[in-house]
């Protein structure tokens, strides 16, 4: 079964790859871009895939944290689909940028030039949240895989779940804040966080049901939740309709009306019926995201999807199918022996799965807490594991935000606590996880890495350091095109007294001296003595003759016609007269000084 799906995935993926290459080369004019919001298909695909990614973790982490028993296969599918969706959720924001090579400037880290990303911008929160979220869900998935070899690691799975649970909601809220914080009329809505999270869970449930059906299993809890969430989404759309007076009808039909057919037993029991329901929900939610991101798409047909958009959609869908089932087959093949790992729960209801779990645990003698008994969260075992790392995380976040707000770049930017709050929790979660696993590896020796894994982690560390160095340096912009040679003649405009003074110090002071009494050192050694500037001599010659002297030159003085404009020469002459007056006054003071 996997083989056919992978072939179909490949068939979609290759043209998609071409479309991706073409849009990176061509830039934002390639795909459908809304005239008002400047965003289009890549961002709606990004919101769609990041919603699916969050649903993966939402289901596994939340159910794990709330002790809702979910058989191990569904949990693994959820985590795996998270990682694969994240790959695509990461590609689209990068490829939709106008200048893709400047993407690193969105990171809130200092660079060599002293610039800093604008931490008040929702896109910076987005970047950090998704990066941290990808890292943490990767760590969560690796821990999940490694717990089979080293059971002691299971101690860390639940604390990680408690870390991921708010992180998932936080990240998707930040994605919704991209839209809610703007002045675009269609994006008006302080309720967007709840709206986007409900949409994400709804699409995640649909994806989970789809993947489970494709493997021939079914989990009734997820299907029931899918139906309940379709009602909740319809309620939100009603409020959206009231608020803005417009509704994406196609999304309402696909994701609102069609899922109700689950109530008909015939469709519910038939595998293809369930697949069709989940597919319609996914299509409906994608259309709704497309309508939110680019309202033009909904209202007028002026900007239909061109073939590049279909290419991008095919790229993401084909890529997901290819990657997901590829890893699935690899995991199946690699862990063939682990029968119990993929509990053969086919078609039985969840309650039975729970029964089996209980018996197994009962047999192993693990004291399962009696139902209804409430563990004090601050005394719970997960909290003990997390306590120190959380403290380190909060301390780091505090220091980080103080450091950020003291950056010189924000000297004339108005910042309040509300601007930086969305950036804090991902920082806390990242530092907590790093401390948790560093402590686990070094202090508690909870797990050991094989030689191969040690080399891999060192190489990754070196690569990360290299990237950090490159982003810190920031590359140099190309030099200017114009060349510098000698000063050409300026425009013939009247010259102010200060400009004449600068001109005199540049051109004439070499011989005539800054104060007009000629420059002894230079003149005595090399040149016959130029005239002394005094008022009588200047008045007798008259200004226009002096201007002619400057422009055409005289016995020992070269012509400046090619280098000075007539009005500059006139300015110089006036300046000479003021110098001469000053010279005579200082001479008078000098006389009466010596006279006194």
């Amino acid at each position: 079964m996997f083989k056919y799906l992978m072939l179909a995935g490949l068939a979609l993926f290759l043209p998609g790859l071409y479309a991706l290459g073409y849009s990176i080369f061509e830039g934002p004019s390639a795909w459908m871009v809304d005239s008002r919001t400047f965003w289009g298909t890549p961002i709606s695909l990004f919101v769609f895939w990041i919603g699916l990614a969050h649903a993966g973790t939402l289901l596994s982490a939340i159910f794990l944290a709330l002790e809702i028993k979910l058989d191990r296969r569904t949990a693994l599918i959820a985590e795996l689909s998270t990682l694969v969706c994240l790959v695509f959720a990461g590609i689209f924001p990068l490829m939709h940028l106008g200048v893709v090579e400047n993407f690193y400037m969105v990171m809130p880290l200092l660079d060599a030039r002293g610039n800093f990303a604008n931490v008040g911008s929702p896109l910076v929160w987005d970047f950090c949240c998704i990066a941290v979220y990808a890292l943490l869900s990767l760590v969560f998935f690796m821990t999940h895989l490694k717990t089979r070899e080293i059971p002691a690691l299971d101690k860390y799975r639940k604390p990680m779940a408690w870390l991921l649970f708010p992180l998932v909601l936080w990240v998707h809220t930040v994605v919704s804040l991209d839209f809610a914080t703007t002045f675009v009329p269609q994006w008006r809505g302080a309720f967007f966080p709840v709206y986007f999270i409900a949409g994400a869970i709804f699409s995640g449930l649909a994806l989970m049901n789809l993947l489970l059906c494709s493997e021939g299993y079914r989990v009734r809890l997820l299907e029931r939740l899918q139906l309940i969430f379709s009602w909740f989404m319809c309620a939100i759309w009603v409020w959206d309709l009231m608020l803005k007076g417009s509704l994406c009808t196609s999304a309402f039909i696909f994701a609102g009306v069609l899922p109700q057919f689950r109530m008909i037993a015939v469709i519910r029991e038939n595998k293809w019926g369930r697949i069709a329901l989940s597919l319609s929900v996914l299509i409906g939610l994608f259309l709704e995201r497309l309508y939110i991101v680019s309202p033009d798409f909904g209202s007028c047909a002026a900007s239909p999807l061109n073939w590049i958009d279909w290419g991008l959609i095919a790229f993401s869908v084909g890529g997901f199918v290819l990657l997901f089932f590829g890893i699935r087959r690899y995991l199946n093949w690699k862990m063939e022996g682990a029968g119990s790992y993929f509990g053969e729960v086919d078609g039985t209801d969840l309650a039975d799965a729970e029964q089996q779990e209980l018996e197994k645990e009962g047999a192993r003698g693990i004291a399962k807490p009696r139902k209804g008994f409430y563990i004090q969260p601050w005394a719970s075992e997960e909290y003990h594991v997390l306590r120190l790392p959380l403290l380190v995380g909060f301390a780091f976040a505090l220091v980080y935000s103080i450091w950020v707000l003291s950056q010189s770049v924000f000297a004339n930017v108005e910042f309040s606590f509300a601007n930086i709050v969305p950036l804090l929790y991902p920082v806390i979660a990242l530092v907590t996880t790093v401390t948790l696993y560093v402590r686990a590896y070094f202090v508690e020796q909870a797990f050991t890495l094989s030689r191969h894994e040690k080399w891999a982690s060192v190489i990754v560390l070196v690569l990360v350091a290299a990237c950090a160095g490159a982003f810190f340096a920031g590359g140099s912009s190309q030099n200017s095109t114009n060349t510098i040679d000698s000063q050409s003649i300026g425009v013939d405009a009247p010259v102010s007294q200060s400009h004449a003074r600068l001109l005199w110090n540049t051109r004439c002071a070499t011989c005539h001296g800054v104060d007009g009494k000629f420059n002894e050192k230079f003149v005595r050694e090399f040149y016959p003595v130029p005239q002394k500037l005094d008022v009588q001599r200047l008045d007798s010659l008259g200004t226009d003759s002096l201007v002619k002297v400057i422009l055409n030159g005289r016995a020992n003085m070269n012509a400046y016609a090619g280098r000075l404009t007539p009005s500059e020469a006139l300015g110089l002459v006036n300046y000479m007269q003021t110098l001469a007056k000053q010279a005579t006054e200082s001479a008078k003071e000098g006389d009466n000084d010596s006279a006194r």
Binding site: A117, S121, T182, V413, S498
Partner: protein, 295 residues
């Protein structure tokens, strides 16, 4: 054709060298990238933009703009413009002057047909409309890299090398005063550097009216050079500087000046006039405003 191994390797290397030479020869024509567009094409595009202008302005009364409220703002200078709607007849000379002064590129025909021009000034309700340089600018709040920032003297400046083209500022501007470089104008031969002072913008970057930042910069630098040489000891107030559109307007309907300087033409000519701003910008403290009627 009994070629032995040595000849075979020799001929292969010959072919490889030929290929290499062919590949990396300098294509002389590459730099020229087609001839530069003529002035007439710029004028025609402005006429096309005028004929297609259909947006209108929904104006509402606002008080006279005062000092900026952002930290570190200058208490002496707040540059802005006032557009007199009574004397403006919508001739469009200011658009052409702005395009030539700031090297605004042309757009390919299919974008022109769809009205997606790059002009920093466009006609709305038969009056020139450009970025209002809001004091509390929504575009600067959401720009991720800090490319859109505010100068202490009231200009919403754009650092094109920091722009990563996320186009979020374009979405967040309530009146859509920002234009995006969808095409590489230089490569398509649509851009021409009329004014050497202003660098051309490259593809994928958002641009907008810069309130002739380069003229203000040059004037400030010239003043500071002569300042310490002992001419006038007081501060630079940007006197005597006019934007390209203000200069080109035959009816002097666009007045550029400094809102905080009593001697500036802006404060003098708007003293007994009623000031308006678009409804969406009214409470964002705009510094480019409209005037109509007498108080």
């Amino acid at each position: 054709m009994g070629m032995d191994r040595r000849e075979f390797i020799k001929s292969c290397s010959l072919v490889a060298v030929m290929g290499l030479l062919f590949g990396c020869r300098k294509i002389p024509l590459e730099e020229l990238a087609g001839d530069l567009p003529s002035l007439k094409r710029f004028e025609d595009e402005v006429k096309l933009a005028l004929s297609q202008a259909k947006k209108s302005l929904d104006l509402v009364k606002i008080p006279t703009p005062g000092a900026l409220k952002i930290p570190g703002a200058s208490t002496l200078n707040r540059f802005g413009m006032a557009i007199d709607l009574d004397s403006c007849d919508g001739c469009g000379k200011c658009i052409l002057a702005c395009n030539l002064e700031n090297n605004v590129p042309l757009v390919p025909n299919e974008d022109a047909a769809r009205g997606r021009f790059m002009h920093w000034v466009d006609m709305r309700g038969s009056a020139p409309f450009m970025c209002a340089h809001c004091g509390n600018a929504p575009c600067e709040r959401v720009c991720p890299t800090g490319a859109a920032n505010h100068t202490p003297d009231g200009l919403s400046a754009m650092m094109y090398k920091r722009c990563t083209g996320s186009r979020f500022c374009g979405a967040n501007c309530p009146v859509q005063a920002r234009k995006f470089n969808f095409n590489d104008a230089q490569k398509l031969g649509l851009a021409r550097q009329f004014n050497r002072e202003v660098p051309l913008r490259d593809k994928g970057v958002m641009e907008k009216c810069s309130l002739c930042l380069h003229r203000l910069q040059n004037d400030r630098l010239k003043f500071k050079t002569s300042l310490t040489v002992g001419e006038t000891a007081e501060e630079w107030r940007g006197r005597g500087v006019k934007t390209a559109c203000a200069e080109a307007c035959p009816k002097n309907a666009i007045i550029f000046g400094n809102w905080l300087d009593e001697k500036s033409p802006l404060v003098k000519l708007t003293k007994n006039r009623v000031l308006y701003a678009p409804r969406e910008l009214a409470d964002l403290d705009p510094s480019v405003v409209f005037m109509r009627g007498r108080r």
